[in-house]
Symmetry: C2
């Protein structure tokens, strides 16, 4: 599209474009008021500036005429001879702050709007944010606030005030624009308005949108289950799955070569099963389609495919999505560890998991296995676990959209194929959604691709869109193991240094102590305590001082109190750890036992009592 | 200084300034060639632009004259009436890339040069680096490379090439300039040169430089030691110090109220001691000066003051520096945990520390205590530990400058008063210097101040200067516990997800496998292994596959191999952990045992055998 056509087209959407006039190649150039800019318009010239096709700040008809000659000479020196259909655009000169707006089409997120600092800064600074085409006003503002240039809307700039609504309005117009690629640079912003001074677009057939977001609450309520492909060989996953469900009378086993397993009858054929809602399949890839079709008459709703060897091995798995759509069932996997739902452990991971509050939906089965094992050690319980595997059908969007519980949702993601649906689901969330995204660096993207066949995508685009939609991005994978949602916390510490380090990690979550609270604590503390949060109760603190301080701080209304214990000369670590076992507090307490040998017995006390504790500051804040 | 005077002064140092002419307030304004800029010059006007005192792009004498009237009207509207001594500067218009150069005076680092993106970007982007006034060419280039604008010197910009030597040259001139505050903005950069278009300076008496950097190698070689203020009461630090040195025949105890302690004679008075090189004092603050003076005749070289209650409690401690200077001794502390030197444990921290390779110099005694305890648990040995305390005399600069060993130096720093000396010491280092700096956020700065009385300073300035001088900035405090200096590593993993996450953490340290190496590994691995580093040996790997892969990878010349083990269905964790105990490898191996319950026995095997291992990915890379 030529510049004059583009201006017209943008103006049709209410987008502010310059006052401009089009002149034929050899026509007279006149314009008012001066100064003006002159630009060549020719289908063959995409980057006008680079071939000397633009002249700025022209003050008179004479200068316009001289500029035309100069531009033609420039073009000539680049081997460009404009044709008869070509011409000139003369526009007013605009001043203001240079902004950048763009539209791009991402394979996972479809249409995405870009906003940031414009002019040459696009290339040097990449001070850009990403905005989903379906983002509402608040989400747009949130994205803008994450750019450096965005500060001018809150702080002003050099005594001038700029209205963020101008930017939001243009973003919303770009959201409606039917285009897959557009660059507006610069867009000139003044206190009174903005105008798209220069733009380039590729208009053509829009790519097709992805699958609609399906609602699958049944996945979270398995009752009558079956494991297809149980095994008596301990080294087979069909054995582990059977073992993890040996105590469940509503779980049926299927294997044509077995009669009983774990004192349970084994069905020879799927046809022999009673009605079931959830089936787990650990059978050869070639047997999957047939088995799924034979499960349909059993009223199955959820099919979990443990079997590997599909996309990650370069083999086609699209038939699974087709089966899911044709029969209206939910397919998890293939290539996964299984699912755990409120005590029903349909995974081949550890048995005897504790029921609890953590929701973990993970694209990596090994990460699930690791976190389950760690949770066992630390007495952490799960509400639901889904090892998503290759996501031939059910993906993160479906899971977040359909979860109806009360606790935070933690996601481990390497790459998604339908990010748009995940954003839609996150926008409707009623609980916090936390995301750990692997594949930030090129090396990690390569590693992720080699083990899942997933493209990891652009990390900044992914995390930017997720954050603006309302998800929290975790920087530490350990954060996936905790269900807590904390806004304001207290730190009680016997080591000023550790309190300082922790403050750096969660500076925006520190509750500010009131004067009365400082006075109250002062009554039980040595005079040189910190009089501040972190509450530094000094290195010689024993369990008595810890207890007195915690009893007072318990009334301060924090969401949690981190209790840092370092092994100093007077520190009675075991007695301190018993505080968390023997005393009841209103506030959630998190002991953070820093050290090694001197902390072993204390940690043991907490582990035995089922108290959640941390061994590292970074782990303690990993979910914040 | 007026603009015309400033131009002259800068030009005197060989700094490129614009061609300019000065005109009296009502004199005729003429200039060649056009276009030009016109600026008011008046002692009362510091920020010309903000009062409309500048006109740009003037094309003729007529425009110059109109601009003068416009500027006078602008000034009038701001209530400014120029006096008879005031005048005008007319300069050529300069085009190019806008840069910022500055000089500032920091309380800890004294004179510091700033460089970055200029014009309005100084305020919006703060794309700035800090350069020490003593930095050499390579250090200057290193700093520049950490700005975004610095990319134009490597990548060019819009087809043009820019020469970093122009920037280095101007920085070096600013290093020589006798000024404590200077802003040059913008400095216009073209392919052919640069020119300081606008500048402001504060010239006056320069602040005095800090203490010279003294060399204190004797600190690291204590032989004949004394503990002044030993105690028989187990809750006193004088007891712990005595206990930690009970087995050392060269360590004398002093306490007027004791005869013997731990079967050792206790001297009643300092006068009774034999000659000693190192004394540790845990006596009341008021007794310090007298004791130090009585130690001088004993030829003491190092005095370690455990005693607290000085600057951190608001009490003057400058007499300690005066004593150190007067008698030529090294004073450590006050308010510290002591020192540990190659087996001599002059701390009141844990006894029976392992001798090893880690050097830890820390401003926080509690952090020392925590890391010593953790090291005991993990079988990590120390070469030297210095708990620096308040640094009344010996500071980080002295320690880094005087260490003559072979291993990396790890520093925990909250705030320094003589950063210039530390930079000088780091520049002369023969071993890696790693720094964890607490006090990045305002909350943490407040916490640090309340427990040490130290101002934490500007984090970006501190870390920028340190990094350019050659130190490595640690983001995770756990990194202080390891002596390793790794350039290229391999990752062997049974979990693709964990390998991906780790790749994100150390993407620039991954060794690239050659085609032959891939072929060699392929002979012992399933066909769907990753064929890449991380070497994903697939979830069903047992110890046999781990061993085969490690025996091959051992020949690849990596500085270390991280061996990630996650508890998957087939994982024989104990047998895998025995590989690290039973087999000898050329390459340093780091087992990373991820999980909980299933890893406990394996961790135990490694701990008992004294093998360094990790439980978290973040910890495993904390020192890289």
């Amino acid at each position: 599209m030529q510049e004059n056509e583009l201006y017209q087209w943008l103006a049709g959407y209410g987008i502010p474009v310059p006052d401009y006039k089009f002149f034929p190649l050899h026509g007279e150039l006149i314009s008012e008021p001066y100064p003006v800019a002159l630009k060549i318009v020719s289908p063959g010239i995409v980057h006008k500036t680079e071939v000397g096709g633009v002249a700025l700040n022209l003050d008179s008809p004479q200068e316009l005429e001289k500029a035309r000659e100069r531009i033609l000479a420039n073009l000539h020196s680049h081997g460009i001879i404009p044709g008869e259909g070509d011409g000139w655009i003369v526009t007013r000169m605009y001043e203001g702050i240079e902004l950048f707006f763009g539209v791009t089409w991402d394979p996972a997120f479809e249409k995405v709007i870009l906003f940031g600092a414009g002019g040459t800064r696009v290339e040097i600074d990449r001070d850009i944010c990403y905005i989903d085409s379906e983002a509402g006003e608040e989400e747009i503002k949130h994205a803008i606030s994450r750019t450096r240039i965005g500060r001018i809307f809150t702080d002003g700039f050099r005594g001038k005030k700029y209205d963020i609504r101008l930017v939001v309005d243009l973003v919303q117009k770009l959201q409606r624009l039917e285009v897959s690629e557009l660059d507006c640079n610069p867009v000139m912003l003044t206190e009174n308005g903005l105008v798209v001074v220069d733009a380039r677009a590729r208009v053509g057939d829009l790519p097709l949108p992805g699958r609609p977001l399906k609602h699958i609450p049944a996945l979270f309520q398995p009752v009558h289950t079956a494991i297809i492909g149980v095994s008596g060989h301990t080294e087979k996953v069909g054995y582990a799955l059977a073992k993890n469900n040996a105590g469940d009378p509503d779980c049926c086993y299927v294997n044509p070569h077995l009669d009983t397993l774990f004192n349970k009858k084994v069905f020879a054929r799927i046809e022999d099963l009673p009605e079931i809602d959830t089936a787990v399949l650990c059978i050869p890839p070639g047997a999957l389609q047939d088995s799924i079709e034979r499960l349909i008459p059993k009223k199955v709703k959820n099919i979990v495919i443990i079997t590997a060897g599909f996309r990650e091995a370069g083999r086609d798995e699209r038939f699974l999505q087709e089966l899911a759509d044709r029969y209206g069932v939910n397919i998890i996997g293939p290539n996964c560890l299984g699912i755990y739902m409120k005590g029903k452990n349909l995974t081949f991971g550890p048995e005897s998991m504790k029921n609890g509050e953590v929701n973990l939906f993970s694209q990596s089965g090994a990460i699930v296995a690791e976190l389950m094992d760690k949770a066992l050690y630390r007495n952490i319980g799960f509400e639901n676990i889904v090892s998503t595997g290759n996501m031939a059908d059910v993906d993160f969007g479906n899971l977040v959209y359909s979860y109806q519980g009360m606790h935070a949702i933690n996601l481990y993601i390497e790459g998604v194929s339908n990010g748009k649906n995940l954003l839609r689901a996150i926008r409707q969330r009623k609980v916090p959604v936390r995301v750990f995204k692997a594949g930030r660096t090129e090396a990690a993207k390569k590693a992720a691709f080699s083990h899942t066949g997933n493209l990891a995508g652009n990390y900044e685009l992914f995390t930017g869109l997720m954050e603006s939609a309302g998800a929290q991005i975790l920087r530490d994978i350990n954060g996936l193991l905790y269900p807590y949602d904390l806004k304001k916390v207290l730190i009680v510490t016997n080591a000023g240094g550790a309190g300082t380090v922790m403050s750096d990690l969660i500076s925006d979550k520190l509750l500010t102590l009131s004067g009365e609270q400082v006075d109250e604590l002062g009554k039980v503390l040595p005079h040189h305590w910190s009089k501040n949060n972190p509450i530094d109760i000094i290195g010689d603190a024993t369990h008595e001082r810890y207890l007195k301080v915690l009893e007072i701080a318990d009334r301060f209304g924090a969401d949690a109190i981190y209790v840092l214990v370092t092994p100093q000369f007077m520190t009675d670590t075991e007695d301190i750890s018993r505080i968390f076992v023997d005393h009841a507090f209103h506030t959630q307490l998190f002991p953070v036992l820093l050290g090694g040998v001197k902390m072993e017995a204390a940690r043991c006390i907490l582990r035995k009592a089922g108290v959640t504790y941390f061994e590292e500051l970074t782990e303690a804040v990993s979910f914040l």
